[in-house]
Symmetry: C2
């Protein structure tokens, strides 16, 4: 409210900015429901919330995240010195700021530190469906000092399975691998350039096995080595069967043993506590060099072409201050990506565009106080409502509610013995008292559900 000078169309053409999505009120209610579920579930699992500032020094952002340099938005005062340049940039993820936060506050945090963080991030990428330049991510990480217990790698998928089970969406599957498995396997068959091999195999989904085999051979592998890489990547089991399947390939390496042991723990835990939601999928690589243990991806079943909505992994050094190293494991939910597709394709909708469950009608202007008092009594008992803006004909007031999806209209003094409330969907009107009436639970807040 500090600047209510009129926004005029002449100042700038009023158009959306590509890659910076904004929602209408009913769509925003869907987004809020997803964010609420994520927060509530993270908190049930004992993660503490933090928020970090939107900006970081540019030299902390540069050189992180592979070739994202060109994607950083610089920030500087419009009236600042030219010499100042952009010394700050908007963060492009929540991990770089979190690592800095851990270093900055290490003396004040209790380790292992379980934190969640739900915030916007910005990247100057070319926008496309489900990829934005301003987007919301929801991250959990556990970080410790020096050593991080491996059971946290088994815990992450349980939290994520809990989150996704509460969403009004279809089935999902969390695909898990351990980087030590391909690392050890490749070395065990004599392929020493592990990063290159990983990067090629990671293209399986995009270019298919024939092309991957060709690229592997081009990079120096024998056809037999290439076949073995493809055979490993083809292994996917919902139980511990992946271990025997790998053993059948006849490859041995100490790192491979470690990886199989570690992934077995993750899958065993998932079978006990999130059955059917987690699979061992030895193709998952996350295409990056810095994960050192378990890696995760998540897909909606039937929408595999949308790719992963929720990814992460274990890394030995989230942060380091010279004295201490902070290993961590974490997962990030791409909230805007999920919402952009679900809302964009109309797969999930909200039953109304306002939190209000009740419109308190206005008999005449003189009785506004009475309607305001009804509204206050309803609110005191947790019922969201608003008073009709004007003492128009009741038909017009009902249409006001209808347009917003408000299910009930309250008529003060309409009945012989007091107020009445009408369900405008059925037309049923019954006597009611503002100090006792409650809507059915499913009408109290907007319903967010899969579209029929």
């Amino acid at each position: 409210m500090s600047n209510p000078q009129p926004a005029t169309a002449s100042a700038t053409k009023v158009t959306p900015i590509s890659g910076f999505p904004e929602y209408l009120p009913a769509e925003r209610i869907v987004e809020q429901r997803f964010l609420d579920v994520i927060r509530e579930t993270f908190e049930l699992h004992g993660f503490s919330s933090i928020e970090t500032r939107a900006i970081e020094p540019v030299d902390r952002l540069l050189g992180k995240g592979g070739d994202t340099d060109k994607e950083i938005y610089g920030v500087s005062r419009l009236a600042g010195d030219e010499a100042e340049g952009a010394k700050w940039g908007l963060h492009f993820d929540l991990t770089v700021p979190f690592a800095r936060y851990v270093l900055e506050n290490a003396g004040k945090l209790s380790f292992p530190f379980r934190r969640y963080q739900i915030q916007k991030a910005w990247r100057g990428e070319r926008p496309q469906e489900g990829r934005y330049r301003e987007f919301t991510q929801a991250d959990i990480d556990v970080v410790d000092v020096g050593q991080l217990s491996p059971h946290f790698e088994a815990e992450m998928p349980l939290v994520i399975a809990d989150v996704f089970s509460r969403f009004p969406v279809g089935d999902f599957v969390i695909q898990v691998n351990n980087r030590k498995i391909p690392n050890g396997f490749y070395q065990g068959i004599g392929l020493t350039d592990v990063p290159t091999t990983l990067r090629i195999v990671d293209k399986l989904d995009k270019i298919g096995p024939t092309k991957v085999a060709e690229l592997l051979v081009e990079s120096g592998a024998t056809p037999q080595q290439a076949d073995l890489c493809l055979a490993l990547a083809a292994i996917r089991t919902e139980d511990l069967g992946f271990v025997d399947r790998v053993r059948e390939l006849g490859v041995t390496h100490p790192l491979l043993d470690e990886g199989l042991e570690s992934l077995s723990t993750v899958i065993r835990t998932a079978m006990a506590h999130a059955p059917g939601k987690v699979v061992a999928d030895l193709r998952i690589a996350r295409g990056l060099d810095y994960y050192t243990g378990t890696v995760y991806e998540t897909q909606f079943i039937g929408h595999e072409e949308w790719g992963s909505f929720c990814s992460g992994g274990r890394y030995d050094a989230l942060a380091s201050d010279g004295r201490n190293t902070y290993p961590g494991v974490g997962i990030s939910i791409g909230v805007s990506r999920i919402l952009g597709l679900l809302v964009g394709q109309g797969l999930v909708t909200a039953s109304r565009s306002t939190p209000a469950a009740v419109l308190v009608a206005l008999t005449d202007d003189e009785s506004r106080d009475r309607s305001v008092a009804v509204a206050a009594a309803l609110r005191a008992r947790g019922v969201s409502c608003e008073v009709a803006p004007a003492a128009a004909r009741f038909g017009k007031q009902i249409r006001y509610a209808e347009r917003r999806g408000i299910p009930y209209v309250w008529f003060p003094g309409a009945g012989e013995s007091g107020d009445e409330v009408k369900d405008i969907r059925t037309g049923e009107q019954v006597p009611a008292g503002a100090d006792a009436w409650l809507p059915p639970g499913e009408d109290l807040v907007p319903r967010v559900a899969r579209a029929d």
Copy 2:
């Protein structure tokens, strides 16, 4: 999680950036509680949530909000063309983006449109206590097309009183005036340069009445006119008494009559629905030219030196697209300002640094599954918990809980007939089942309360 390369202290010195506050987990819990109360109350009053992108075209931001041009942060891709310049800026309030959103979506919104918006904003101001460069605001506005019914001006203080009544802070008072009162009054006594007079009288708090009178005379007022201005500004009543007090000054003007009538409606409504929380205070001007009706400020009683935490008003043209004009009324809560002072001065604290109410102890590494199952059963009933990170001595596990303020430690299989739970504050340990036990309500979520 997309960039877990280690953050090292060498990259950039890890220090806070002045004016960009970040909270530790326990402080963040206080902030979350305030934000939750604000959101819940706004929604109970039937306001719909929207969020707008962080950036606006620079030419939409420039020239708005008085001399804030120099405070705008420009945004541009680091790798972009120099020629590109900063065509975008971070928004410095939520009103300019809201006005643009209304114009952009006018065809899809239902008017009168009641929206709330809780987001960060950025200003390149010199930071000081309670004034930040990155800060969170929580705004409500009602906007309509063409005409806005005056009763919305009376509704705003009721919503704000409801919000502040739910905060764990002391008493507050919402001060209300109507710009038509000083406007009409000044014209009634022959002072035609209303903006200058308003700006001088607005300095009362800072420089006192003697200085204000001097400045008024310097600006061309007679000593008698100056005295009348001061007499008007001195009027402050909790009821409708202000009308007679103004009449006693013997000034008449049609605009003054309108203002008195309008303010009477606001105060009458407040006396009925928020008694003791709202006063007519004819000194309130908001120091700005563009409010056209009711104006609001809010202070904490006993902390008047902190200034207003929540201000706003009515304006005849929030936005205009050439065909339609959109009048509105709104209030903005300075969340970061309130929190910065309350948390900064230790006036409000959280009882723990994590949402977890229970730490499920680990008897030995082999029984982790059992502890995880207990945790899942507690969570299914809404109890936040975490499993101890390691099967250390119970004393060490209890200290782990203590450091975080977690009130309960759960011991699977500790009793003869099953599990036991210990309140580590009292030492009391009792038998409990994870499918039935609940902590007392005040322990379920962190307590956020005034410090003793």
